[in-house]
């Protein structure tokens, strides 16, 4: 199991370090935040490969973190003799017996630490040192990767040339366009890892024999016919035979079938499901790493639900899963405790939630926890009318909608504000909780969520009891009944209380779109000012 990942100078990660969960890691982040890059980096250091090809073949200037490169070029231009940028990805494994040959202290830990591990570095190739220095005379921000080399080693400082036997890695990317053969590199790997060496050998041998029998059978008659009279370049006989070269090994001819339909002919959602089942269904007890990119792609809601429960069934103790997702459903069902929030700041955040909160969201997989996780700042309100009025108040003060400033106003719709607040608190988010006082004293209102409140970070806002129990009386209190009727567009004879009771949301919409100046209740104004910061 990977205990720690350290990435330096690779793409978006200038300097990045995190300790994954033992079994399941749900990697969540905004677009371009580095979710896929993180999986890619882990796979690189595990297998030395990216998209099925050696790192050295795929190396390109965009692998280098732009800020690191810019700093380097600037410094060199300023005459400082700084060392060229390097990329380093290090994986620290659990100190298990079967991984001991990868164990050593040749890693970047301070103080010195010995544990099994691998590191992939992209470093200047000393053979091209002179050429590199010549390039430095007029540097650009596109590094000359031709002068770089890949250096993939274990922590014992042994150079690795192929994936260590124990580090079985499956990469499932449901986004990939299907390949012409239907079976791409990753699936071939998954298939061949799924079989025992003896099973593999048996299949390979049988496949060879089938090919031989074809050559000996139907092809023989044909060969007898074309063997005579047809002259090749050097008058040698021509015959047809099955290709026995490795290009045509069983791996390229054998493909999974679902209900007798070949893999490549089934839907993309089905393909992803098959890959996940094959990759996770192993009988061996070796360390294994499964990486899944956005399992929700191409799947209907029900199919996704089935896939998720299958993943939960298959996940063994010896498997470590890394899953990127954009789906709150996946997140809630697999458990918020496994969440790993990747953000622009580099250091990922892992929430520490109480078990009952994790279970709470698992039972409510439809709840949009991702919005909570991804927003910069959050305003938790009770319902749609509060959401609408708060937005209006905010726009009145700042001239822009809260979402434009990274503030997400989320209506709880009857769910527990305390649970949402707990998640936000564990991710260190700034939160304003806005609620009706419902005629309850301040202390009592505060009590259920007091653990997660923190002055300046997460605060609770509500109106004074004498100004009204809920939003509407509060609005009437601050704006006066006449103006209020004007904003709602109702006559003086209509019963205000009844009207608002029947159409809370409609009322809120009318108020929000009214041209009249809204004299906002104090607590809403305070909440807006607090969250704006």
């Amino acid at each position: 199991m990977i205990k720690k990942v350290k990435i330096t100078g690779y793409r978006i990660f200038e300097s990045f370090e995190f300790q994954p969960h033992e079994n399941l890691n749900l990697i969540v982040g905004a677009n371009e935040s580095g979710k896929s890059t993180l999986l890619e980096a882990i796979a690189l250091a595990l297998t030395g490969r990216i998209n099925g090809r050696r790192a050295s073949e795929e190396l390109n200037p965009y692998w280098f973190n732009t800020e690191v490169v810019d700093d380097f070029v600037e410094s060199r231009k300023a005459g400082e003799n700084v060392a060229p940028p390097e990329i380093r990805i290090e994986l620290f494994f659990e100190d298990r017996e079967e991984l001991q040959h990868l164990c050593g202290a040749v890693n970047s830990e301070v103080p010195t630490l010995a544990c099994p591990g691998t590191s992939l570095r992209i470093v200047p190739n000393p053979e091209y040192a002179d050429d590199f220095e010549r390039w430095m005379e007029s540097p650009s921000d596109i590094l000359p990767v031709e002068y770089y080399m890949e250096d993939w080693r274990d922590f014992a400082d042994n150079r690795l040339t192929q994936r260590p036997r124990q580090l079985i890695t499956a990469f499932i990317d449901s986004r990939t366009v299907r390949s012409a053969h239907g079976v791409d590199y990753h699936l071939r790997n998954i298939l061949s890892d799924n079989l025992d060496p003896s099973e593999r050998a048996a299949v390979s041998l049988a496949y060879r024999q089938v090919k031989v029998s074809l050559s000996d059978g139907p092809l023989r008659e044909i060969n007898d016919r074309i063997g005579v009279g047809q002259a090749s370049l050097h008058d040698k006989p021509i015959s047809l035979a099955m290709d026995q070269s490795p290009r045509t090994s069983w791996e390229t001819a054998i493909t999974p079938h679902v209900d007798r339909v070949p893999f490549s002919m089934s839907g993309q959602g089905q393909q992803a499901a098959i890959k996940i089942s094959l990759a996770m269904d192993r009988h061996s007890d070796r360390a294994q790493f499964v990486m899944v990119e956005e399992p929700e792609n191409h799947l209907s809601h029900t199919s996704l639900a089935i896939l998720i429960s299958r993943m939960q069934d298959l996940a063994g103790e010896q498997q470590q899963l890394f899953i990127t997702t954009h789906s709150s459903f996946v997140l809630n069902r697999l458990g918020l405790s496994s969440l790993l929030l990747v953000g622009p700041s580099g250091a990922p955040r892992i929430p520490e939630l109480r078990d009952d909160t994790v279970r709470y969201f698992q039972k409510l997989p439809g709840y949009d926890t991702l919005r909570l996780a991804l927003a910069d700042k959050v305003v938790l309100v009770e319902g749609p009318s509060d959401e609408i009025i708060f937005e209006r108040v905010f726009v009145d003060i700042y001239g822009r909608r809260p979402i434009e400033l990274g503030i997400d106003v989320i209506s709880m719709g009857g769910l527990s504000a305390a649970r949402a607040l707990e998640l936000c608190a564990s991710l260190g988010k700034r939160v304003a909780v806005v609620r009706d006082n419902d005629g309850i004293e301040a202390d009592k209102l505060r009590e259920p969520i007091d653990d997660f409140l923190e002055a300046g970070e997460r605060e609770l806002f509500f109106g004074e009891i004498e100004h009204g129990n809920t939003l509407e009386p509060q609005l009437v209190h601050f704006d006066g009944e006449d103006k209020f009727r004007r904003m709602l567009g109702i006559s003086a004879r209509a019963n205000l209380a009844n009207w608002m009771e029947r159409g809370k949301t409609e009322a809120a919409l009318r108020i929000a779109s009214s041209d009249e100046t809204l004299n906002a209740p104090d607590y809403l104004r305070a909440a807006a000012e607090f969250i704006h910061g």
């Binding site: 079967e98 050593g104 014992a156």
Partner: protein, 377 residues
């Protein structure tokens, strides 16, 4: 842990025995087979391929490679944080008073061969147990050939290996200790030669190691085996060598050859000619091999040009120092059938003198006469 030391006499089939030992192990056992010389590694690899080709877990490597791969390279940061070992300096020597990393690594971060043992030993402790845990997980057994070539810090490392969960199987002959891994170190000088046997006997008493003897030579004639036994005194406490070479060629055993007869002897028997060092034996124009270099080889007959000390040993019975004794022992035991020693007098040894037959002398004179006449005409 089962630790065994076999003290084997020259010509007892040590290498073959090692290969057979490896072949007899369970197929999946993970074994490091360690020897000191490259030549020996090549021989062992060939032998193992022949008899234990199905044992995928057997690795043959040199002692330096073993220390470098499993001790120094993975764990050097424990003593020198941030440092790596980027190579190996076989001939380099650190400055006599070098401290810290400079003691062990040269300016290009290559580790000095002569300090590798000390570095490896210090890392065992510096790594807080990681080093030995790693090694114990990687190997079930370590087989060490030529254990007599251990020196200095190697003994401390061996002590740790003996106490580990890894089985250690050792083979060697301290009478053949002619290699020195660290020529400058004074540490553990007392464990050279006889001291080394003492070292093992102490450990045998506490049950850490079992010592057995392999005293049958299939190479040397009984006369040669018996003579070899006299080179080291009885204080070594070694059993008598038994010979199973019963082949008779008409010239078998150990002989003294007078300097005047060397040319004739060489002509008649074509022995391998051995000398102590390139500075010795200059009196005769022979195709020499040095004593130490001949180690590991075998020949039908050898001729030895002795050092002054060897002459004293033969003439007056003055015991040789352990180093020279080992070199002389190696030289004498290269031969299957005969050993000839070139001396003018050797009163104390009781060895027979070889005399050219009259026919030979006549032949020699005839040849000289013929070439003489040829020149004249």
């Amino acid at each position: 842990m089962v630790n065994r030391l076999t003290l084997a006499v020259a010509g007892s089939g040590k290498t073959r025995g090692l290969a057979e030992h490896c072949a007899s192990l369970p197929r999946h056992r993970r074994v490091a087979v360690i020897t000191f010389t490259q030549a020996n590694q090549a021989v062992l690899r060939t032998r193992l391929a022949a008899v234990a080709g199905d044992h995928a877990g057997i690795e043959v490597m040199g002692w330096f490679a073993f220390l470098s791969r499993h001790f120094a390279r993975p764990f050097v940061p424990f003593m020198f944080p941030g440092r790596r070992i980027l190579g190996f300096s076989f001939d380099g020597r650190p400055h006599r008073f070098a401290k810290g990393a400079a003691r062990f690594l040269d300016s290009e971060s290559r580790v000095y061969a002569c300090e590798l043992g000390r570095l490896a030993h210090e890392l065992i402790e510096a790594s807080n147990g990681s080093l030995m845990r790693r090694l114990e997980c990687i190997y079930d057994e370590i087989v060490i050939d030529e254990i007599q070539d251990f020196s200095a810090h190697d003994w401390d490392i061996l002590d740790v290996l003996l106490g580990s969960s890894i089985d250690v199987t050792m083979v060697g002959d301290f009478r053949q200790a002619v290699l020195v891994t660290n020529p400058r170190s004074s540490k553990h000088k007392r464990y050279a030669y006889a001291g080394a046997i003492e070292w093992f006997r102490e450990r045998a008493e506490t049950g850490l190691v079992e010592i057995s003897y392999s005293s049958i030579t299939y190479r040397c004639r009984p006369e040669i085996a018996a003579f070899g036994d006299t080179i080291f005194g009885p204080e070594w406490g070694l059993p008598q060598t038994e010979s199973k070479n019963y082949l008779e060629t008409g010239h078998d055993g150990v002989f003294l050859v007078h300097p005047d007869n060397v040319e004739v002897y060489v002509k008649q028997f074509s022995p391998l000619c051995l000398r102590n060092a390139s500075s010795s034996g200059k009196r005769y124009d022979l195709d020499y091999v040095n004593f130490r270099v001949s180690k590991g080889t075998e020949h039908q007959r050898v001729l030895i040009v002795p050092t002054a000390a060897i002459e004293k040993f033969l003439h007056a019975g003055v015991a040789l120092e352990p180093g020279p004794a080992a070199a002389f022992y190696v030289a004498s035991t290269r031969a299957f059938q005969s050993v000839a020693i070139v001396v003018a007098k050797a009163d104390n040894c009781g060895l027979p003198w070889w005399e050219p037959s009259t026919k030979m002398v006549a032949d020699k004179e005839k040849t000289a006469f013929q070439s003489d006449t040829a020149r004249r005409s």
